[in-house]
């Protein structure tokens, strides 16, 4: 699919670009006389294009659908997207810009955890509603959680917890860990060790490789892991680092016969580039768009493919569900009043492509889950086999426990 897209002739690319531009213009034009509700969205489009281009497409699709169905009490949604520069400093300025100049009613977006946290801090200070769509850090809903910030995606903790039953079931004694050396990787590794140790007290962690993000020395790391002779490996690497790691591990045979559980590796964004070298037998979290036959997902898939002529990625799910969530919240609150919207989001029930989920009142975390499955090969590309949807609510700590994790409760 990918290669077909990038081999299309120049003219087609230009035409597609022009069409996109038109579409985005169309999406931002108010549909009727009623004053639109303005959603300000900021994200690291330049820094993370692979995830965020499908994300933006799906947001536009959702806005179109909401408006076609009559908007929010007759008022259409208007989406204003901005690049956040990929860093917290620029992001806060862009957020200010959206709030003060564009007069948006709510904020949403962000990808990187540090950017998400900075915008959450800004939302708290300026009392603006903020739906953090993608950042995974646990802190955004727990340690640094605040009244005005909600988060859609399953957090690092939740993703790890979803894999835990499989890690425990494998009953391996010697584990090795490899993770990118920043907060996401560190907290995933720490959570994994804590949860596994609790479930299986005799477990041993024999090697831990913390690699610089985007600059993995794949051969050396793959070899160092193998030298520790682990029975199983927990992997947190993603994107280019993951592809490099897998290729080196394959040609060195360092993971042959080793059980691997891996975070996010089943997401098309990271799985597709590996083509026929995608690892087999790894237990992963991800998004198998080709193997979900619920009516909610079917409707989304059809609409997305019809509009864009390509399959969705996980980014599409996140973008689409963000807008749907905001629409539901705005309906429940009766309009864009910030305080009412915050109250409306507490316990808000939403039905997205992954089915129904809620925004918990206790920690403002959505219970939208993810799919867990085993990687395999089909038609020369990696796929998730027998994927099972794990409800986010089933892996989250209870409200009472969350109370302790969230010092700044509102």
């Amino acid at each position: 699919m990918r290669s077909a897209a990038h081999r299309s002739p120049l003219l087609a690319r230009l035409a597609a670009g022009a069409a996109l531009l038109l579409a985005s213009v169309a999406a931002t034009v108010p549909a009727g006389a009623a004053e639109p509700i303005r959603i300000g969205e900021l994200n690291s489009y330049k820094a993370q294009p692979a995830f965020l281009e499908p994300y933006r497409k799906a947001m536009e699709l959702a806005v179109e659908q909401v408006n076609a169905a009559g908007g929010i009490n007759g008022r259409p949604l208007e989406l204003i997207t901005r690049d956040d520069g990929g860093n917290p400093g620029d992001a806060v300025r862009v957020a200010e810009d959206l709030v003060t100049r564009e007069k948006v009613d709510v904020l949403t977006g962000t990808f990187l955890s540090n950017v998400g946290l900075a915008v959450a801090g800004f939302a708290d200070k300026r009392k603006v509603f903020f739906l953090a769509s993608e950042p995974l850090t646990d802190k955004i809903t727990w340690a640094d959680g605040n009244r005005y910030t909600f988060r859609l995606r399953a957090s690092t903790y939740m993703q790890v917890a979803m894999l835990m039953p499989h890690a425990v079931k494998a009953n391996k004694k010697r584990w090795a860990l490899v993770y990118p050396n920043y907060e996401y990787g560190q907290s995933a590794a720490a959570t994994f060790k804590t949860l596994l140790k609790a479930a299986q007290p005799d477990v041993e962690f024999v090697a831990e490789q913390a690699t610089p993000l985007g600059k993995l020395d794949a051969g050396a790391v793959a070899q160092a892991l193998a030298d520790a002779k682990p029975d199983a490996v927990f992997n947190v690497l993603f994107a280019a680092d993951l592809a490099k790691f897998v290729r080196e591990a394959n040609s060195r045979g360092t993971l042959d016969g080793t059980f691997v559980v891996s975070l996010l590796s089943g997401e098309p964004e990271y799985l597709d580039p590996m083509k026929d070298e995608a690892p087999q037998g790894w237990v992963v979290t991800g998004y198998p768009w080709y193997a979900i036959d619920t009516p909610e997902h079917k409707a989304f898939l059809d609409a997305y493919q019809k509009k864009y002529g390509e399959p969705p990625r996980l980014g599409s799910i996140v973008g689409y569900t963000s807008i749907i969530s905001l629409a539901e919240g705005l309906k429940k609150a009766g309009g864009p009043d910030t305080e009412k919207l915050v109250e409306a989001f507490k316990g808000l029930a939403v039905s997205g492509p992954f089915g129904p989920f809620t925004y918990r009142a206790s920690d403002h975390q959505a219970t939208m889950g993810a799919f867990v499955g085993t990687l395999g090969q089909k038609d020369g590309k990696g796929v998730m086999l027998d994927p099972v949807y794990v409800d986010g609510a089933s892996v989250l700590p209870s409200d009472a426990e969350v109370e302790k994790l969230r010092p700044n409760r509102d």
Binding site: H6, S113, Q209, T254
Partner: protein, 620 residues
């Protein structure tokens, strides 16, 4: 860990070293002859990889694959030649650092061009035909391709050596590396030589990228990642020295391999994960080498730069027009809060501009009157921001004392790092500042308990009356005015004269009794304190900070602001920082391809005002 595994990792490291060497050798040759610090070198590498992956997908068979690699490298070499002829040739007459700005702008454009052509998703190329297997070594499997790479490095080194020693071209290049003026005087066509050298450097970068086809996917983050590594290797080896680049590449690769092989070690009952050091290992090595051997391992001290700042015109106090303009600017700045009711974004943007102005002014003091280019000025900005943030959140201090602590933290950093840096000259000095900045960054990045790690610290809002947009803006305006007046006063005080004397003629200044190292150290301190003030304001303006305040990107932004504004005038950083911030804010809103647009605008400015905006204005 056994001895076997350590030995294996060392052999393994040679393959990585070769990859580093190709890029670094190209950078080194370009710098040696043309003195251009080529910021687009990483982009050349990235393009080489993208082109090779594309060609490998289309050309059939092993000949297609290997031929495609060569074609990709040649194409990048051609691009290099085109860049030299069409762009760089126009700006050779201005100080060398402007070519840095031009190549930086070019790197922005090339990155967006790659996004446009190849799309956002990573592209993993096929494995190399004929080298898919592996050999047995010490009971482990070493991929054939790693063996090939480990041998390709020395082979290219040998080829370059023969080229340099045995051919007329090589002799000319070596002569130009040693004394460019003399080569020109001997009637050698310099224009052609520069084009050829730039093309050769770009070709090597492209080849380095193309050879990674079998090892890593082409992606858009490669350019910056590789650029940093290549610089480090070139500086450790000694600028202009090709064998030095190879030795340095091996050294860096081996240190990293050692960190990875050691894994978690226990020292006195305290477990430390050595693999975390790979984040900063190359910069630690570079700092150590530069402190012990300032010219790099194989470098020779260069003479004074041929077209450096030596010919800088003396500074003149501001005339009546200048004072009137400055007064008008101040009145306009004071009027910003008045429009805030209608246009609430005005103080927000103006505050960011002021912070940029203060930061750029601090770097300008160092680079202009001080003659010391810093590639790591973000260190002091970040120390100021972290100092302020920790004082405000951790110690719970009120706004003003917290701000003061931030400034002192930055000053302390400048005092320590400056002591080492002022002993060096030119690019070596700049690279040592970069190394220190990277070390500070990696500490902030990893010291989760204190600095909040990669996420940083949030909830750093100032107290009343600074908690409103306008309040903080006015406070920042006051700081900016004080800082600019202070710097102006310093420049025209005996201290400033001594600083400039040390810059223009170090030996003569020392002969007349000026302790140049000490004066420069003092200049470093003042510059650090001012940068710390900018950082402190930044922390309060954003309510949060993260290691991003310490990154190379921020240092480069400041560098571009100062150079855009013009080195020769104290008004330069004000104009440069103002223009850069405004441009960035505007283009980020206007288009998805804002980086390319920003690059084009910077290029236009460099071509229109080759001495910076203030410089161009004064010259006319």
């Amino acid at each position: 860990m056994t001895l076997d595994s350590l030995a294996f990792q060392m052999i393994n490291g040679l393959a990585s070293a070769s990859g580093l060497f190709f890029v670094a050798a190209g950078l080194s040759i370009i710098f040696g002859v043309t003195r251009i610090v080529n910021m687009a070198h990483g982009a050349f590498y990235m393009l080489g990889l993208y082109l090779a992956v594309t060609l490998a997908d289309r050309l059939p068979g092993p000949f297609g694959y290997w031929g495609g690699l060569l074609l990709a490298a040649l194409a990048v070499g051609l691009l290099g030649a085109a860049v030299e002829v069409l762009l760089l040739r126009r700006i050779y007459h201005v100080p060398e650092l402007y070519q840095l700005v031009a190549t930086f702008a070019l790197a922005l454009i090339l990155n967006d061009a790659a996004l446009w052509i190849w799309g956002p998703e990573d592209l993993l190329g096929p494995r190399a035909p004929g080298l898919k297997g592996s050999i047995e070594l010490l009971g482990r499997r070493l991929p054939d391709y790693d063996v090939f790479l480990a041998l390709a490095g020395p082979a290219v080194l040998l080829a370059l050596h023969l080229l340099m020693k045995r051919t007329r071209f090589g002799r000319t290049v070596r002569a130009a590396t040693q004394d460019r003026e003399m080569v020109a005087a001997l009637g050698i066509n310099q224009a052609l030589l520069f084009t050829a050298v730039f093309a050769l450097g770009a070709f090597l970068a492209g080849l380095g990228g193309a050879l990674q086809t079998a090892r890593e996917p082409a992606n858009l983050n490669l350019d910056l990642a590789v650029l940093g590594d290549a610089f480090v290797v070139v500086v450790i080896g000694g600028m202009g020295s090709i064998p030095g680049a190879y030795v340095a590449a091996v050294l860096v690769a081996l240190v990293k391999a050692l960190c990875i092989a050691l894994g978690t070690v226990e020292i006195a009952g305290w477990a430390f994960n050595m693999t975390k050091l790979t984040l900063v290992a190359e910069f630690l090595v570079m700092a150590l080498v530069l402190v012990l051997r300032p010219q790099g391992l194989f470098g020779r001290p260069h003479g004074a730069p041929a077209r450096g700042l030596a010919s800088e015109a003396p500074l003149r106090p501001m005339g009546g027009t200048g004072l009137a303009l400055a007064g008008a600017a101040l009145v306009a700045a004071l009027a910003v809060p008045l429009v805030a009711t209608a246009w609430a974004y005005a103080p927000v943007l103006a505050l960011d501009m002021l912070i940029a102005v203060i930061f750029a002014a601090s770097l300008h003091l160092l680079m202009g009157p001080g003659g010391m280019a810093s590639f790591g000025h973000a260190a002091y900005f970040g120390l100021g921001a972290y100092g302020t943030a920790l004082a405000a959140t951790g110690l719970g201090l009120p706004t003003l004392p917290a701000f003061g602590i931030g400034i002192l933290a930055a000053g302390a950093g400048a005092l320590v790092f400056g002591w080492f840096c002022v002993r060096l000259e030119g690019v070596y000095l700049a690279m040592l500042t970069l190394a220190f900045a990277q070390i500070v960054w990696s500490v902030a990045f990893q010291w989760e308990e204190v600095t909040g790690g990669s996420n940083g610290l949030i909830g750093i809002w100032p107290d009343w009356p600074f908690d409103s947009r306008t309040g903080l803006y006015l406070a920042a305006l006051a700081v900016a005015v004080v800082v600019l007046c202070l710097i102006r006063r310093l420049i025209f005080a005996p201290f400033g004269h001594a600083l400039r004397a040390g810059r223009d003629a170090r030996l003569r200044a020392e002969a007349s009794g000026i302790d140049v190292a000490r004066i420069r150290w003092l200049g470093f301190l003042v510059s650090g304190l001012v940068a710390g003030a900018a950082g402190g304001l930044y922390a309060f303006a954003k309510g949060s900070i993260s290691p991003e305040t310490l990154t190379v990107g921020r240092s480069i932004d400041a560098l571009v602001m100062v150079l855009l504004g013009g080195l020769g005038s104290p008004a330069g950083p004000v104009l440069g920082a103002g223009a850069f911030t405004l441009l960035q804010d505007t283009v980020m809103r206007e288009t998805d391809y804002w980086r390319a647009l920003l690059g084009v605008l910077i290029l236009a400015l460099v071509l229109l005002f080759p001495g910076g905006i203030a410089g161009g204005r004064l010259r006319r």
